[in-house]
Each structure stands twice: as structure tokens, then as C-alpha cells.
Amino acid sequence: MRLMVIRVQRRCVKPSDFVNFLRGDLTSVIEKLKSLKKVGPNKSAGKPNGNMLYLIFDNLELIREWDKSSTALSFMFNLYDVLKMHELGLIFISNTSPDTYYSNMGYTEHVPVYFPEYTEDDLRQILMRNQPNRKLYSSFLDVVLRPFCRTTRRVDELSTAFSPLFRKYCEPLSDLASVPNEEMKRRLFSHFRPHIAPSLNEIFWVPSKSSTEAETNKDTTRKGSTRKSEVGDHFAQIDFHMSTSAKYLLISAFLASRNPATLDASLFDSTGGSDSRKRKRKASEKSIEQKEVAEQELLMKGPGTFPLERLLAIFQCITSAADSFDEDEHENDDLRAGGDGGLMSDVLLQLSSLCNANFIIKGGSCPLEGSTRYRSTVSEDLALKVARSLKFPLPNYLYRR
């Protein structure tokens, strides 16, 4: 059916105006449909046939976040009764179930049509579509579909996860059009099996390096990662580029968010955090219960906010401490050179780019000082990884309750 495009650009603020416009436009469209029907009963292709008009509202649940959500929603649901046009049908599409729309306003209910999530068999049928070598893909799905279905049952997420995996699965094959027999399947599976577990723990995959380079990297990391957690072993290296000073800034922001501000002085004195052992013993003297409560609190509160001054002070401290740690390494030459004043503008630039990349977010401004406060969103794993790449002893500076 051809779409009838109505080009209307009218500004209307009030629902009453909207209804008047809508009624006028709808009647004219319905008239047009009727006249078309009268003219051409031969039902030539491309001509609209019939005289029903449907208004479709997708993602209805977002309306609830509007300012005047309660009136807007009841207005939407009552639109049919308000317009009183028999040729009109309203279709609402929502991600959430109808019971999430009940409110004290009350409205006449609609006919529910429920679309259940795809089952494993449905997913198999959908993913099999448009596959050139169906037999091969089917044997691939036999291996991956069940484990992946345990984490998500969405077609979009599964298909993005499967496309690189299928390439990996096919790697030993010379001829992609060949029909795999049992022996071949076994061989493919034994080649493919080590890749399943890590890919289950990824949500997206960026092919940043060429495949051979990635391969060698993986081999080296796998050797070292046996003692680490089984989770995501090829995340052991950070897979993005970042300048050294940005890395330091990232770590300073992480520290500023995690550590209480009152401890800054003792942590960042001239000894550079080497007295951390002393503090640790003190902390362990506390009762375990108290510790648990504090830990719980930390979990609940999440990373704290900090002013710009504190961030810069920590940044200064850790860069100078890093210098004292590895005198021999010339990696930090550029930092040392600009350690006074001249570096500041550069640091502010780095800060703004870190903000843009969402590593650091700007929180609300402090009511007393009026300055902007920042918050680090980086997880501890990533911060540790970045620190490792700098050979910076981050755990020494982290305050553990």
C-alpha cells in the first residue's frame, strides 16, 4: 500500500488545537480514500484500498517520562473517544506490559495483543534466514545458540555476537560452500571451543587490530592470565590508545572518587604512599561487622564527587611520585618538563576530552563553592589496567576500608 504523505507543519501547543488539526486532516484523508475507492474499483497495485486509517504510536512507554505524562497518556488513550471517527484505528506499541500504564486517571482498556520473546527454536529459524550455507550455519548454531540464549534472547544482540564468531568458526575451512560431515564438525568444534567462553562474557567486540596481531596478543596474554580471574582474559590489556598524561589524569580522577578527601594528606605525602602497610593494620583492627557495613555503604554510594582543585593536586602528586619510582624510565619526560604551570592548560584540555568520552562526568555544582564537581565512572578493573600499563602502583594509594 502506498503511503499518503501529508506535509503539515503547524505549531500547536495545546491538545485542543492538536485535536482540531488532527480531525480536519483525518477527515480530508478519509474523503480522499473514499473518492479513490469510488474511482478505481479495479484495485490496481499501489493504490490504497479500503477506508481505515491507523495511527501507530511506537515506544509508548517513553511518554511516561514526559513532563505532563499523566495527562498526555490519558489523552492518548482517549483519543479515539475524543475524535469519534469510525474510520480511525489506534495502535499502541510498548516494551512494557499494559499493567504498567494503570494510573489513577483510569481509561477504557484496549485489546491486548501480546508478543512473547522468541524461543530458542524461533531464534534458530530467524538466524538461519539469508544464510548462504545453511548446513554449516546450522552446525554453528548447534554449538553457540544454547549457551548464548542463557544470557540474552534478543535477536539483535545475538546476531551481532554471532557474526564475528561465525567467521572464527569457519577459519579452518578452505571452502565455505562445503557441506560439513560429522568428522568435519568435530574438528571445527575442537578448534572453536576455546573461543566460546570468553565471547560469552563480552557485550561488544571492536575489531581494532588486524586479526593476526590480535591472535598473537591473545596467545601471550593467555599464558599469563591463568592465575587471574577467568573473566575476559583478553581484556588484560587496554585496547584503546590514550596519552600518558590522560592515563594519569584518569587514575587521579579514580582515586579522587574512591578515597575520602580527608585522607589525601596522609596518602600523598612525600613518601608516596609507602606507609600504606601501617594504615592497613589499623583498619584490620576494626571489627568485621563494622567493615561490612562500611563496605555496603561504599557499594551503595558509588563513586563520590570531587572539585577540580583536588583532582589537580592528586595529579601533581602522583606524577611526581611516579618520577621518583622509576627514575630510569624516560616515559614521563614530557610530564616532568611541563610539571609547572605550563602543563595546566594541557591537563584541562585532557580533562574535557575525558569528560566527552564519559570516563569522567560532570556532577552537580557544589552549592557552597559554586564550582563544578566531577565524578569518575571508571570501574576498578579498568583503572587497575591503566595503572598497570603505566607501571603505577595504584593499590598502594587505594584506601580500603
Binding site: 491538545p15 475524543v82 512494557t96 506490559s97 485489546v111 557485550i203 557499594l299 551503595m300 558509588g302 565524578r375
Partner: protein, 418 residues
């Protein structure tokens, strides 16, 4: 004509009946003590005697207040063709005084073929309305204001209601205000100065009784013998319908459905789905159609949501439940992850995933609204640290887990343990 063709015609006929309020409410309004007769008597007497009047139609949503009003209005427009002007307002659209007066002026202009100015101010429109009311009164024409969602007009300063009712008191006007509301205390919402100008006539709309429902069902579902449909087909259809209507199981279905809400529109919605379920091959309604309609309307949305979850999402739900059972009232994603880890430590399974995968599952749950944030503030904090809560009850969760096809053992174990 094949039976499928006939059945399709019958289906279309019944569906068009269900969508037309005139057809539904006409037979209910024959008797002299029906709301239809009362309303018609009040309005037509104020037209005849050239006086002002105001009425409230009260009753639950879907009980046919507007349908009866429209029926009365269309009858009156036929009886007194040139003496009535109907102005229709809706509280959802015109609860604001300014837009309400604008709409009144617009409809008055439309009706009397005058030029409507969009730029007119509130005072202009209000003066125009009063002048029009006076002119109509002098010409012995009645203006009927139908105010749907009347309770919404009673919000705020009620300037519209006051100026409308006041105009009806002072000048020689001839107007009827009909308020329609689902709030039975709608007249108590009025300010003193408005209430004193309002005549307290109320018509109460009650849901149909059992006998009425039975009559309504027959009226809607039986096919006419004199239409284009083949006579023997219609006869057979009606005969089968009678046997269904008399069936005890059918009566059970209907009373079960009407238990929650026994208004007419609620019944019509049910019939619409049942008619759409009709099998065109056999050509007749069957009890199964009504059964299917009942199960498609009476849903358990939360349990369906749980059935749609993946195993990992169920894990997160169970972890949250365990936290709640331990009376840990405030928790967020990070504490759920801690619980997830401890569950995994005590019952090791292959279902232990990285934090980012869990976060994605967590977001799916948020999208499905099986869980939600406890507060709308704190948008600056990332999702991991915002407080969440379950919005499914324990019983629903338990029931959902039980009916889940391949529920892992530890889940059911967990939910029984706690």
C-alpha cells in the same frame, strides 16, 4: 454463496454493531425510567419552556454516559432542527479556561457561520459567548454545552464554569449544561459560588444487571432474518447462539469476566475479541471462541515477563529477592553483583558471567519493568550505583520460576530456601 463468505459477512455485521454505540444503547433506553428517557425529558422540557438547566451524568467509565447523551442529542436535533446548538467540550482538552472559551467561541462561530478570530483574548471570547447566549435566548434557540470529563473542569479556579453558569443566571439566555463524569462526587468539587448556580440534577448510570446482559448479548449477537444474509444460515446461526447462551459454562465465563468490571463497554470489548476468534470455516460461533477471548484478555503480564527472561536475568531477579528477604532494603547493581557472586560460590554453575554481560541483563530487566529505580533523582550517578527495587511480588516470581521451561535447579532451590 459459500459458508465462509456468509460467516465473514456475519462477522463484519456483528463487529460493526459492537462499534456503534447507537445500536447498543437503543434497546436499553425504551422504558420510561431509563436514563435515556429522563435525560431527554429534562432537556426537551427546558427547550420547550425556554429555561436554563444543568445536569450531571455520573457513572463508572464505560457505562455509556456519552453514548446515551449523544443518542438524546441526535434525537433532539431531529425533533427541533433549527433551535439547538450543541457545544462539545472535553476536560482532557479544555480544562484550561482560556482554551475552553476559545473552543466555545470557535464552535459557536462554526454553527452560526461567523468568522472566528484565533487572536481573540480571553475577555473577548467571554464577552462573545455572553452576547451569543443572549442573542440565542432572544431568538428562542437553546445552546447545549456537553462537558465530558466534567471533574477536570473543576480543577483550578473554575472560571469557565463560573462565567458559563453566571451568564445563564443573569441574562435572558436559554442554555443547558450537561456534565459527564466518572467521579460520583463531581458536584462536591465545585466552588461555593459555582455550586450555588448549579442545579443539582444527577443521573446515575449503573452497570447492567444480569438480565440486561443476557438481553444485550442476544440483541448484539443474533443475526437478522431479513437481511442480505441467507435466511437458513441466519436461522442456524441463531439457533447455535441460543444453545451457547443457555449453556452453564458460557454463563460462568461471562460472570467470571464481569466480576472485575461489569460495565457495558467492558463486555463489548470481550465480545469483539470473541467474534474475531470465530472460525470462518465452520461458520458459527462456538464456546471455544469465548474461552479463548477470556484467556487473551485476562493475562498475567508479570508472569509473561518472567517467562520472557533469559536464565541470567532470572539469576539477577533471584539475587534481588534474596537481598530483599534478608531485609536489606536499599541495594543497587553492585550489591546485586556481590550477591550473585556469593550465590555462585555456594552453588557453582556454568552460569557465571562477566559484569558487563550482567549489566546488560540488568538493563533488560529495567526495560521490562520487572525492576525499577527507587527514585527519579540521581541521574548523574551511573546505573550501577542507583538504588533499585523489585516490582514483582515474591509469589509472582516463584510462580514464574516454576512455570519456566528449563529453570535451573539452583533457582528453584534458592527461591524455596528463602
Amino acid at each position: 454463496m459459500g459458508i465462509e463468505n456468509l460467516a465473514e459477512k456475519a462477522q463484519i455485521l456483528i463487529r460493526s454493531r459492537l462499534c456503534s454505540p447507537n445500536f447498543i444503547f437503543k434497546p436499553l433506553s425504551d422504558s420510561s425510567d431509563s436514563n435515556y428517557s429522563k435525560l431527554k425529558f429534562i432537556i426537551s422540557s427546558s427547550i420547550m419552556e425556554a429555561c436554563n438547566n444543568s445536569i450531571l451524568l455520573l457513572g463508572p467509565r464505560g457505562s455509556g454516559k456519552v453514548a446515551v447523551l449523544e443518542l438524546v442529542l441526535s434525537d433532539l436535533l431531529e425533533e427541533y432542527p433549527d433551535t439547538i446548538t450543541v457545544i462539545r467540550l472535553n476536560g482532557l482538552l479544555h480544562s484550561e479556561d482560556n482554551s475552553a472559551l476559545k473552543e466555545i467561541a470557535r464552535q459557536l462561530c462554526m454553527e452560526h457561520h461567523l468568522l472566528f478570530s484565533k487572536m481573540a483574548s480571553f475577555d473577548d471570547n467571554s464577552q462573545f459567548m455572553i452576547a451569543m447566549l443572549r442573542e440565542c435566548g432572544l431568538a428562542h434557540k437553546t445552546v447545549i454545552f456537553a462537558l465530558d470529563e466534567f471533574d477536570l473542569f473543576a480543577q483550578g479556579k473554575q472560571r469557565l464554569l463560573y462565567s458559563l453558569l453566571d451568564a445563564m443566571q443573569t441574562v435572558t439566555s436559554q442554555a443547558v449544561v450537561v456534565g459527564v463524569s466518572c467521579r460520583l462526587d463531581a458536584d462536591q468539587l465545585l466552588e461555593k459560588r459555582v455550586r450555588s448556580r448549579f442545579s443539582h440534577r444527577k443521573l446515575l448510570f449503573l452497570p447492567p444487571s444480569k438480565e440486561d446482559v443476557q438481553r444485550l448479548l442476544e440483541h448484539i449477537l443474533s443475526l437478522p432474518m431479513d437481511s442480505s444474509l441467507a435466511c437458513d444460515y441466519a436461522a442456524e446461526f441463531n439457533e447455535k447462539l441460543q444453545s451457547i447462551l443457555a449453556d452453564k459454562r458460557f454463563k460462568e465465563i461471562i460472570s467470571n469476566y464481569l466480576n472485575s468490571n461489569s460495565t457495558t463497554n467492558h463486555l463489548l470489548r470481550f465480545l469483539f475479541i470473541a467474534i474475531s476468534n470465530m472460525e470462518l470455516k465452520s461458520g458459527f460461533l462456538s464456546l471455544e471462541n469465548f474461552k479463548a477471548a477470556l484467556s487473551s484478555i485476562q493475562r498475567q503480564p508479570k508472569q509473561e515477563c518472567i517467562k520472557d527472561c533469559s536464565i541470567l536475568e532470572l539469576y539477577i531477579l533471584v539475587c534481588m529477592k534474596r537481598l530483599e528477604v534478608r531485609e536489606q532494603n536499599s541495594y543497587n547493581f553492585s550489591s546485586v553483583m556481590k550477591e550473585y557472586k556469593s550465590v555462585h560460590d555456594s552453588f557453582p554453575t556454568s552460569d557465571y558471567y562477566a559484569q558487563n554481560v550482567c549489566l546488560r541483563a540488568f538493563e533488560h530487566l529495567l526495560q521490562r519493568e520487572l525492576i525499577c529505580f527507587t527514585d527519579n533523582r540521581g541521574h548523574s550517578q551511573s546505573i550501577e550505583f542507583r538504588q533499585v527495587k523489585l516490582v514483582v511480588s515474591y509469589a509472582e516470581l516463584q510462580e514464574g520460576l516454576k512455570s519456566y521451561r528449563s529453570c535451573p535447579v539452583s533457582h528453584s532451590h534458592n527461591s524455596i530456601c528463602f
